[in-house]
C-alpha cells in the first residue's frame, strides 16, 4: 500500500466521521489561531510603541541640568539646577568638539496662554533654534521654520502645531495670522506636521519660537541658561559616540568629572529598550498561554485517536484479515492523526490571519502575524498529530486479527 493510497484511506476515514473530525480539528485550530494572534498582537504593540518613540527623534540625546542643593540642604531633582547654558549648546555644535553630533537645539519652555484675534488657548511655548526640527524629527507642512538670522534678531515669529492651530484658528490657515504670548505679538510663519501623541503628551499642541525671542521678549529673563539641550547623533550607530563626546565636552567646560557632573545625558534608546523588553515579556506570557491551549488541543487529538482505535477494532481486524500488514495499519492511523493535526493547523492559520485583519480594524494598531511563529505553530500541530497518533497506531497494529474480529 503506497503513500497515496494511505492518504486516500485517511481522507475517507476523516470524511466518514465528519463531526468527530471537526471537533478534533477545532482544538488544534483554536490553539494555532491563539498562538498566531497573541504573538501578532505583541509584535504589533511593540512595533507601534517603538515607532512612536522613534517619532520623537530616534537619534536623540537629551542633556538635562543636574540637581541643586539649597542652603538648608534640601536637594532638588534632576533639572532643578540651571547649569546648562546657550554657551554649552554652542560648544556642542562645534564639530571639532563633538564630531558625531549632527544638530544641537537648546530648549526653554513654559506653559503660557496664547491669544489669537478671536480665541485663546493655553499651551506649551518652546524656545529653540532652527536645529529643533532636526533633533525632534519634525517637518513643516505649510509656511516655513524660523532661520538662524531671525533667532539672532529676536524676530517676533512663531511656528505652531496642528492642535494649537485648530484651537486658535479653526479651519483657517494659521500662516500669516498673529498671536499674542504674554503681551508679545508674534506672526505665525509655519505649521508643524502632525506627530500625534506620545508618552510625553500631545506633540501637536505647541508653539515654537526662536530661543532669543523667548528669553528676551517672552520670559523676560536675562538668561543664558536653558532647560535642556537636545542633541541628535549623525546616525543610530554613532549614538553612543555622541553620548561620550558630549558628556566629556560638558565635563571639561564645567570643570567636573563623571562622578561630580552637574548634568545628565539621556537617550531615547534606553526607553525603547525598556519598552521593547516589557512587550517581549508580555508576548512571551501570552504566547505560552496560547501554547498551553495548543497542548490541550493535542491531547484532544490523542484522546479521539485512542477512542477511534478502540471503536474501530473490528475494522482493523477485517483489514488485517484482508491482507493489511501491521505496518499498513500503523501508517493508516498515523496518517489520519497527522492529517487531522495539519488540516486543523492550516485552518487555524486561516483563522489567525482573519482574526488579525479584524483586530487591526478594531484596535488602533497593526496586528502583525509573525510568519516564523506561524510556521512553528504549523510544525507543532503536525507533530501533535504524529505524537498523538503513534501510541494508538501501534496499539492498533499489534492487535491479533482474530481478537480484533471477535470484538463486538
Amino acid at each position: 500500500m503506497d503513500f497515496r493510497e494511505t492518504v486516500r484511506t485517511a481522507i475517507t476515514a476523516i470524511l466518514g466521521r465528519k463531526l468527530r473530525s471537526a471537533l478534533t480539528m477545532l482544538g488544534i485550530l483554536i490553539g494555532i489561531a491563539a498562538v498566531m494572534l497573541t504573538v501578532g498582537l505583541g509584535q504589533g504593540a511593540q512595533a507601534e510603541i517603538t515607532g512612536r518613540i522613534n517619532a520623537l527623534g530616534s537619534n536623540l540625546l537629551i542633556v538635562s541640568p543636574g540637581s541643586t542643593t539649597s542652603s538648608s540642604g534640601i536637594r532638588g531633582g534632576v533639572g532643578s539646577a540651571t547649569t546648562l547654558t546657550l554657551n554649552d549648546a554652542a560648544m556642542l555644535a562645534d564639530r571639532t568638539v563633538a564630531p558625531d553630533v549632527e544638530a544641537v537645539a537648546p530648549v526653554l519652555q513654559s506653559s503660557a496662554s496664547v491669544v489669537s484675534a478671536d480665541s485663546n488657548w493655553t499651551t506649551m511655548v518652546v524656545g529653540s533654534t532652527p536645529d529643533w526640527t532636526t533633533v525632534r524629527a519634525r517637518t513643516i507642512t505649510q509656511g516655513r521654520f524660523f532661520t538662524a538670522a531671525e533667532n539672532a534678531a529676536q524676530a517676533p515669529v512663531a511656528v505652531i502645531g496642528t492642535t494649537t492651530a485648530s484651537n486658535l484658528f479653526g479651519n483657517r490657515s494659521p500662516v500669516g495670522q498673529t498671536i499674542q504670548v504674554k503681551g508679545v505679538t508674534l506672526t505665525v510663519i509655519g505649521e508643524l506636521n502632525s506627530a500625534g501623541s506620545s508618552i510625553t503628551g500631545d506633540q501637536d499642541d505647541t508653539v515654537v519660537v526662536p530661543i532669543a525671542t523667548f528669553t528676551q521678549r517672552i520670559s523676560g529673563g536675562s538668561g543664558l541658561s536653558v532647560a535642556s539641550i537636545y542633541l541628535s547623533a549623525t546616525s543610530q550607530d554613532t549614538l553612543s559616540a555622541a553620548y561620550q563626546e558630549s558628556s566629556a565636552a560638558l565635563n571639561t567646560a564645567h570643570g567636573t568629572t563623571s562622578d561630580t557632573q552637574d548634568f545628565t545625558v539621556n537617550s531615547q534608546q534606553t526607553l525603547v529598550n525598556t519598552i521593547a523588553t516589557t512587550t517581549q515579556t508580555l508576548t512571551a506570557l501570552l504566547g505560552s498561554v496560547a501554547a498551553i491551549s495548543l497542548l490541550v488541543g493535542g491531547i484532544g487529538v490523542m484522546n479521539i485517536m485512542l477512542v477511534s482505535v478502540t471503536e474501530r477494532t473490528r475494522e482493523i481486524g477485517l483489514r488485517k484479515a484482508l491482507g493489511a500488514t501491521p505496518v499498513a495499519i500503523r501508517q493508516q492511523f498515523l496518517t489520519e492523526a497527522s492529517m487531522l493535526g495539519l488540516i486543523g493547523g492550516l485552518l487555524g492559520v486561516g483563522l489567525g490571519l482573519l482574526g488579525s485583519v479584524v483586530l487591526t480594524k478594531l484596535l488602533s494598531f497593526q496586528v502583525q502575524p509573525s510568519w516564523p511563529a506561524t510556521l512553528v505553530a504549523l510544525v507543532v500541530s503536525l507533530l501533535i498529530g504524529v505524537v498523538a497518533g503513534v501510541y494508538p497506531a501501534s496499539r492498533a497494529a499489534k492487535l491479533a486479527p482474530i481478537d480484533a474480529l471477535r470484538t463486538e
Binding site: 477485517l318 484479515a321 491482507g323 491479533a400 486479527p401 474480529l405
Partner: protein
C-alpha cells in the same frame, strides 16, 4: 495430486492463567484443488478455532500447516498478512463490510493491500460484482443493501484477488431462507467453476450442499457417521 491445504496433527490450546483449554486435539485434514468441503459442528466444538487457523488469523499451538505448498506455521505476522491477502478469500457470518465504503470500495480492499493500481482495481471489482449479480449496486453502501446482497458483496470481495481457497464461516448464519438459498447457489456455482471452498456451519442442510462433509466435535474431526478419520 498435492493438496491445496494440508493440516497435520494440529493442536490449539488456549491458556488463561492457570486454566488451559484444549480446543483442537490433533486435526489431520487435506483439501484438494476444486474441493467443496463442509465442516459441521455445534458451538464449542472447536470449528471456529479450526477456521481461524485455516484462515491464518490464528496460529496453532503445535502441528504442521501447509497452504498452497507453503508452511505457514512458522511465518511472521507480515508474511501471514501476504498469505491472507493472496491465498484466502473470507466470507464472514457478520459480512464485515466497512459501512463508510461503497460496495465497490469494499470489494477493492484486498486489492489495495495487494498494491494493485486504481484502474485495475475498479475493473476487477466491477467484474466480480457483476458475477455475483450486483452490477447495478456498486455505488451503494452496505446500509443500503439487504442482508443477502451484503453477503454477495462479501463473496465478491473474497473472489476479487483470485485466492487459492475460499473460506466461508457460517455464511448463511445471519440470512433468511431465501437469501440462504441465494448464497448457497452462488457458492455451488463457484465450485462448478473449479474454486476450492471450505464451508463451516452448524446447519445440517447447509453442510449437505458441499461435496464432502466432516463433523467436528470436542476438537476432533470425524465423518458424519461418527467414524474417526
Amino acid at each position: 495430486m498435492t493438496p491445496i491445504l494440508s493440516l497435520r496433527d494440529i493442536h490449539k490450546t488456549y491458556s488463561n492463567g492457570s486454566i488451559s483449554l484444549e480446543a483442537l486435539r490433533g486435526i489431520d485434514l487435506d483439501v484438494d484443488e476444486g474441493d467443496y468441503l463442509a465442516i459441521m459442528g455445534p458451538s464449542g466444538s472447536g470449528k471456529s478455532t479450526l477456521m481461524h487457523i485455516i484462515g491464518c488469523l490464528d496460529i496453532a499451538t503445535s502441528g504442521r500447516y501447509e497452504l498452497a505448498g507453503q508452511d505457514v506455521s512458522t511465518m511472521s505476522e507480515k508474511q501471514l498478512a501476504v498469505v491472507r491477502n493472496k491465498s484466502i478469500g473470507f466470507v464472514f457470518q457478520q459480512f464485515n463490510l466497512l459501512p463508510s465504503l461503497t460496495a465497490q470500495q469494499n470489494v477493492e480492499l484486498p486489492l489495495v493491500y495487494a498494491g494493485v493500481s486504481r484502474i485495475e482495481r475498479a475493473r476487477r471489482a466491477a467484474e466480480v460484482l457483476e458475477a455475483v449479480g450486483l452490477g447495478d449496486r456498486m455505488a451503494h453502501r452496505p446500509g443500503e443493501l439487504s442482508g443477502g446482497q451484503q453477503q454477495r458483496v462479501s463473496v465478491a470481495r473474497a473472489l476479487v484477488n483470485n485466492p487459492d481457497l475460499i473460506l466461508a464461516d457460517e455464511p448463511t448464519g445471519n440470512l433468511d431462507s431465501v437469501s440462504t438459498e441465494d448464497v448457497l447457489r452462488l457458492l455451488a456455482g463457484l465450485h462448478e467453476r473449479g474454486r476450492t471452498i471450505v464451508l463451516i456451519t452448524h446447519e445440517h442442510d447447509v453442510a449437505l450442499q458441499a461435496s464432502r462433509t466432516y463433523a467436528i466435535r470436542d476438537g476432533l474431526l470425524s465423518t458424519l457417521d461418527g467414524s474417526t478419520l
